[in-house]
Symmetry: D2
Subunit: 353 residues, 4 copies
């Protein structure tokens, strides 16, 4: 059924395959009067796109955004915004050899079984390429959130394999190709990626997203809680296998007397174990989210699988892939977070504004 839309008051609907003519989307519900230029979107697209550093996939997509509607004389008009990115570096022939088999860890098998056929070129719709439009939509949301309430969303690489990247320097995050907040770990990350490239393997990662200046009151109990909607949005990103809000799985061994955040005057809390959400509604504290990203399944190490005719075979993926998809997940996770926050800001206004 329909599954290519997200959001209620701020709705993003997308289309597009990895090696089709274009990918694109429609952004509905954007308030009128917001200044919007291509550059506002391109900035985040550039953070996500492959081919920008030696640490990510060498596929060279320029990811040039085209705004097809909804903006007039530099301002949003309140009508739906059509976005498109043409696929330029298509190499569908790279995928001829996988058309009759299923890559382990990929959606080849499930797409084929669900739909009875599949666009095998680069994973078709299940490719990470699809996320470029999420990033574009998120850039619009980010701009609005910043403008009206100074809401800031920042993701960073918190861990890659056994390398921990603590939040030592917020300002450094966007100045290195790993989105790493700890300058002391850059060398280790570099080595790890180089080694993975040599061995043809990949590695998992943990990404943290922080939201600052979010007002109290966003989130709709009981099912559309802010944490529930964030979990939905972030889990919808390829390769995400886990979500934590605030203390996350640390709560399992915590006592109530340790975990609960005592409240002080002026709407502040003595701690933020909750991660900024209580009862599904934002508290006004920073929101902290962690997500787990699995290692890329497309690796050069042979793996066993079957063909469409149910015969055993072996696969080696030689496409252009990321040794650690977790790096490029950072701007995607920010975008999905922005989409959810934007939706909830508008939803709040509808009932309580």
């Amino acid at each position: 059924m329909t599954g290519n839309s997200i959001g209620q008051c701020f709705k993003v609907t997308t289309f597009g395959e990895s090696h089709g003519f274009a990918i694109g989307g429609i952004i509905d519900g954007v308030p009128p009067g917001l200044s919007l230029k291509k550059e506002d979107i391109q900035h985040d697209l550039n953070r996500r796109r492959p081919g920008t550093s030696q640490y990510t996939s060498p596929r060279s997509e320029l990811d040039i955004i085209e705004i097809l509607s909804g903006v007039f004389n530099g301002k949003t008009t309140g009508t739906s915004i059509g976005l498109m990115i043409k696929n330029t570096d298509q190499r569908p022939q790279d995928y001829e050899k996988i058309k009759n088999l299923y890559r382990p860890g990929h959606a080849d098998y499930t797409y084929e079984k669900k739909y009875g056929l599949r666009d095998y070129r680069g994973g078709g719709r299940s490719s990470a390429r699809e996320t470029a439009i999420r990033v574009a939509a998120g850039a619009i949301a980010k701009k609005y959130l910043l403008k009206v309430q100074n809401i800031k969303i920042q993701g960073f690489l918190a861990q890659m394999g056994n390398i921990y990247c603590d939040l030592k320097n917020w300002d450094q995050i966007n100045s290195n190709p790993f989105f790493c907040p700890d300058p002391n770990q850059l060398q280790k990350l570099d080595s790890l990626i180089r080694n993975l490239k040599k061995s043809g393997d990949s590695i998992g990662a943990k990404v943290t997203i922080m939201i600052k200046n979010l007002p109290v009151g966003l989130g709709e109990p009981v099912f559309d809680r802010l944490d529930a909607d964030l979990a939905h949005a972030l889990m919808s990103i390829n390769a995400v296998k886990g979500i934590e809000i605030g203390d996350g799985f640390l709560v399992v061994t915590k006592h109530g007397s340790e975990h609960r955040d005592e409240i002080t005057t002026q709407g502040e809390f003595k701690s933020n174990h909750s991660g900024g959400i209580l009862g599904g509604i934002s508290t006004g504290q920073p929101i902290v989210i962690h997500i787990a990203i699995k290692p890329t399944s497309s690796i050069a190490i042979p793996g066993k699988t079957i063909t469409k005719n149910n015969e055993e075979t072996q696969i080696i993926t030689k496409g252009r892939h990321d040794p650690c998809i977790g790096i490029r997940v950072v701007p995607i996770a920010e975008a999905m977070t922005a989409i959810v926050l934007m939706d909830h800001l508008l939803r709040f206004r509808a009932q309580c504004g």
Copy 2:
């Protein structure tokens, strides 16, 4: 805005406060012709309700389900099913003393700031009491899933504090008050709860949900993936702070060569690190989900907070609460899982059936 509905083809909408007249819901989209009796629902309600063992809240709600519509001569008619549970053991006077302050770790503060007022009796809508109707709705879904495809959903307590409950005996889960699958740990769990009662404190927990016999093909890319919708539904349960699908956060340190599940003939996989979902679509393997449940915030240990007038004060909660809410989350998590699976089974039929 509206946040009290979940699902598209199988839609559950609920109402009700902890100490109001009743809680209830409307279940829309149930296929016609399903045998349905009150007993089918009551069974799971009894698993959830408080007052059934010394390990959970002593609030004594009988949770008698009433089916108000949608069933005729013992069969569902295809029209919306109205459900209601009257609140019988209301003690709103217990809550007079908290009407002017915010309990730390609860939604008192966020509800009041969002809506400008709140029903302070037992947390009102933010009370865990609200989940009884989720369980009732889930019972209908469970019955249908079992009938048409033998799909089975089982939750269990995987960890409480530092006590691990491994899946040693599937059949034992429902025969002990902890939903613990390891009979050897029952004594430890008993001791832990008794000690918490004495100290007036509470503890966190981890719950695992397993789904068996789910066919390949459920889940709608790209936003309404099965894992994304499960994350949404489970994170919408009070006190849940983390979700893992399959290996979850273990993937952070894993290589692609370890994580990807190689495929064998006959639709099987050599391993199930993915937890039964690839590209957001079920693989036909068992689905494995872990959730983290925070310790109950209502404890007898004094905590600092503020009043509505922004004055510092202290609170001791003497209501009737669970030392470990994780126990009672088991049937609730099963119910939310069932609601999502039911929705996706019907969604699959719409497009691919």
Copy 3:
């Protein structure tokens, strides 16, 4: 699939059969802080309910509304409002004789074919009884619309058979049992109904709904235009077969030079052929809608039909029915109009507020 909900920011979901235990609904998205008493709702329910005059069905339902949640200390809390009306004057035995045949003009045939079974008691879910909850939900919307923007919705009987009821006296509408705005026609209406009762037949009607003080700007292009959503809501009422906005079908023979409403200063128009909506958005002028209501199909005159076993037979309906359902449609149409306006007022706020 699910079809028992309407609205996005103000969402109404209903349940209930004509002769089941109760009918009810959940109203989601009501802004917090609205004063709400049972009496606010009961007033409109009394205008709709049968048994109140000799001109409508003698079924004697008191239609006592119960507010089950969402209101605390006389104010809405922002959480979902549960509503219930118990069915008291059930006479399911009246319907034993129709259980195996299909009443012409009713939904018996289509429900049975769609769902494979049906609740034959009084039409089950397809009974006009279902509309009581629409009226209750509409009463909440009406109260809010009046409070915040002085928006007024008034329906009246515009025509019954060949009797025309012109808008001569707005204040008289609610003071006669026909909702007739022309006092001079009351005698004729009385005679017509009496004659229909004697002959056992029924008659169609036209109802007009007027909306005053609606601000400019409500309605969401391109699909959720205000007129489109009104058409949806009004056509969803039993027995409605036609909708007109403004000049309606009169436009077929009109020239553009006659139809277009010239604009004057101060947001006014020289005429209102458009009926207060341009491009799907309210103009600020009064909104004028006409709907056509078919004659009740349940009549005492024998009609040919078939049994479930596909044998020809004849039917005479001796239940308790309205000679002109158009009368009681007036408060129902007002309610559906109010539900749509409320939804669009909140939707406007979300994006443009």
Copy 4:
């Protein structure tokens, strides 16, 4: 808020302004495996597009459809289908003179008041140009409906001004530029249009849509009835001011004994006053719908209006417009009908399939 989507299981979302770079849409929920070529869509686009005869607007848009995704090797893949039509014959300079005033009968005034600004070029989003994508989406739905159940949808011009076009020859409808089913009226229609062109005026019309071979059982009570959803979809077309299902407003003067359709064996009815829908569910009889289309407001006859600065002025529209928009509404109305039927066919499958 969001208003650019329609449908639940078959969802159409659109974007685009009259004189922007392109218009487009995303079609979500299309079953996999449907053969789909550009030509399938182009056929209906050609029926709608302007510049094809002397009877419609001379704006010369080729309306070349581009399928951007969702089709692989000539078959739909089950993923979302991206569609785009580039605007080629843009003449925004034609609209410079109206940028500071509001054309009577158009949405200029309401868009400006709602959003605070507007794309004044050709009406921007409120232009009839937007409907091209509806036609494209409808063409996909039509193809599927025909393939799986032989469901046929045919619209025709039933009346233009005082010229009646009875359904004399079904096969002639698509062979004349008026979609007129009565060959004897073609001369009169030609004369009327010629005269309107001379006088610079326009005329209203009535269009009928017939659906054949629709199975019994489509439509979701109580709010998403088939007739309610059709009313919504058709009223969302520019210029539509009225909708009738079956006998429509004729029912106002009808008796129940005349109106109800008696039922015969083999699922047939002795008449079809209901227009093929009972209780919101299709009966299996042909569905008959009439819609009223207002005369084009863009005419060469001067009209009074105001400027953005609230000064009185006068307007003469010299753009490229249709003397009777009703002609081109025919394929648009068919498309909207197809979209609704497709959605309901899939919805039926979800619950009852």
